[in-house]
Amino acid sequence: MSPREQRIIAGIYHLSKDLGRHFSLTEINLQVTNGEFVFLVGPSGAGKSTLLRMMYMDDRPDSGQIVVGPYVSTRVTRKTIPGLRRMIGIVFQDFRLIEDRTVFENIALAMKVTGTQMSEIKQRVTKILTYVGLYHKRHDFPRTLSGGEQQRVAIARAVANRPSILLADEPTGNLDAVATRNVLELLFKINAGGTAVLMATHDIEMVQSFGQRIIYLENGRIARDREMIFVGDVRDRMEESSVSRRAEQLSDHDIGDEEKE
């Protein structure tokens, strides 16, 4: 893969936010560049979810600024928010799939709202479902799927519109070990395809084995930001991790960029 120009996709600048009950986020600064994978780690209640919510601008900071692509939190309006959301993919712990829609329809909805042609939607959804390994379940309803499968559908929906950044809020929080590994692999694979990923989790031990950039959130501040070590180092670490190795193999047929470029 050719080296890309480094460019900030999402930036948080001097952000403060009162979370209530004497909790708050103070002076948060962090930038995510294109194609980066970042773990946001901290105990529950540390404000990870709030931070992500402010990034997709469902919530506003008390002070400071968030910039995602061309969208600035201080200037965004109800009219411009849909545009912002289309360049962000969002995944939650509780999947948030629509119960009375099939797997296919859940993903197609994300593309329908952008006014994509039906033929293109069909093509794209087929491709993504194959990519996440659930094409055979396209006509099933979410409740008939396992947690891990539901989360993969949710991820498929999140990447349907080719977002530049994927925000994942505890995406493995409800999953067992095997499903967790599958979901992580999938996120790595998507990241390898060029999409930046910011994943919030409270599971410090799990993320430490991967060698990605980790941002520690403690007492409302960024306690530590372990930048991604230079590429060679990551490669070495990826060799160590079977999860990452598989992710790398899988990324050969990625979905993110071939059509974009």
């Binding site: 959301r85 629509i98 329908k112």
Partner: protein, 289 residues
């Protein structure tokens, strides 16, 4: 908004309607039944009004003439009567005709009249006021005026009875209006709440649509259409049930009046708007759309 987006919105509505048949059916039944109360009430009001109208329309003023008047005098009185404001029809009833009528009213007991040596009844004019003029004040003023005329013996219109009827009608209208207001408000409340619940049940759908970047219009319009359709379905249900009630009860109440077609069409439109507004305001208030 292009054509494709419009089609997707309609798709959304169809999926919403199709996938929750049970919930939708229950919503329509609840709304339909409460609308039935409203529409039955409207029909009762309509029938009351037409009954009161009909009763008062049968109101006649009788101008009794003195005995043995010249023909010209009688004619003059008739012309003067017809020249009065608010008079629709003036007909002459001779004393003989009056007696025949009286006989008919008595029926079998008309033998009693055979004993009479001469006809004691006077000649009279039966005066029918125009529709809008039937009030006790107007009739009293006519009576007072005509009674002064030469050749007029007496003018009668059942003043006491009529005034009592007028008061009763007024009372009925006031009660009807108050009741109508209460029913109307409760129906609006029921429909608003039912539609609101339908919207709230779809909270996830709406949240998801927001997250994937749907515009507010794209989220709202399918729901508003759905609310309107539910309103229409509920109003049609109410009309069908009303027709059944009407058919059944007109067996016992032959003069029963049914709602006019244009009123029914207006009712359907009203319910469609109510459903749409319910959806709209539910989304505004509870989902901050």
């Amino acid at each position: 908004m292009n054509l494709r987006t419009a089609r997707y919105m309609i798709d959304e509505m169809m999926i919403n309607l199709g996938r929750r048949k049970g919930a939708n059916a229950i919503a329509v039944i609840i709304m339909g039944l409460s609308l039935l109360i409203l529409i039955v009430f409207l029909m009762v009001t309509l029938n009351l009004a037409s009954l009161i109208d009909k009763t008062s329309e049968e109101m006649r003023l009788f101008v009794y003439l003195e005995d043995g008047l010249e023909r010209e005098v009688t004619q003059k009185i008739q012309l003067k009567l017809m020249g009065l404001r608010g008079i629709d029809e003036v007909s002459f009833i001779s004393k003989d005709e009056a007696l025949t009528e009286f006989r008919e009213t008595l029926g079998e007991e008309s033998d009693l009249l055979d004993e009479l040596v001469e006809n004691p009844l006077p000649d009279a004019f039966r005066v029918k006021p125009k529709r809008g003029y039937i009030t006790s004040e107007f009739l009293a003023s006519i009576a007072a005026e005509t009674e002064k005329w030469e050749g007029v013996e007496e003018v009668r219109f059942g003043k006491k009875w009529f005034e009592r009827g007028e008061r009763l009608a007024k009372g009925i209208y006031i009660i009807d209006l108050a009741l109508g207001l209460i029913i109307f408000l409760s129906v609006i409340f029921v429909i608003y709440n039912t539609v609101r619940l339908t919207v709230l049940q779809r909270r996830t759908t709406i949240d998801v649509m927001k997250l994937v970047g749907a515009t507010n219009a794209f989220i709202r319009i399918p729901f508003i259409l759905e609310g309107a359709l539910q309103g229409i379905a509920a109003s049609l249900l109410a009309i069908v049930l009303l027709t059944a009630i009407y058919t059944f009860s007109s067996r016992y109440l032959p003069g029963l009046v049914f709602m006019r077609r244009d009123a029914l069409a207006g009712f359907v439109v009203f319910c469609a708007i109510l459903g749409a507004l319910g959806s709209f305001s539910a989304m505004r208030r509870f989902l901050k759309l």
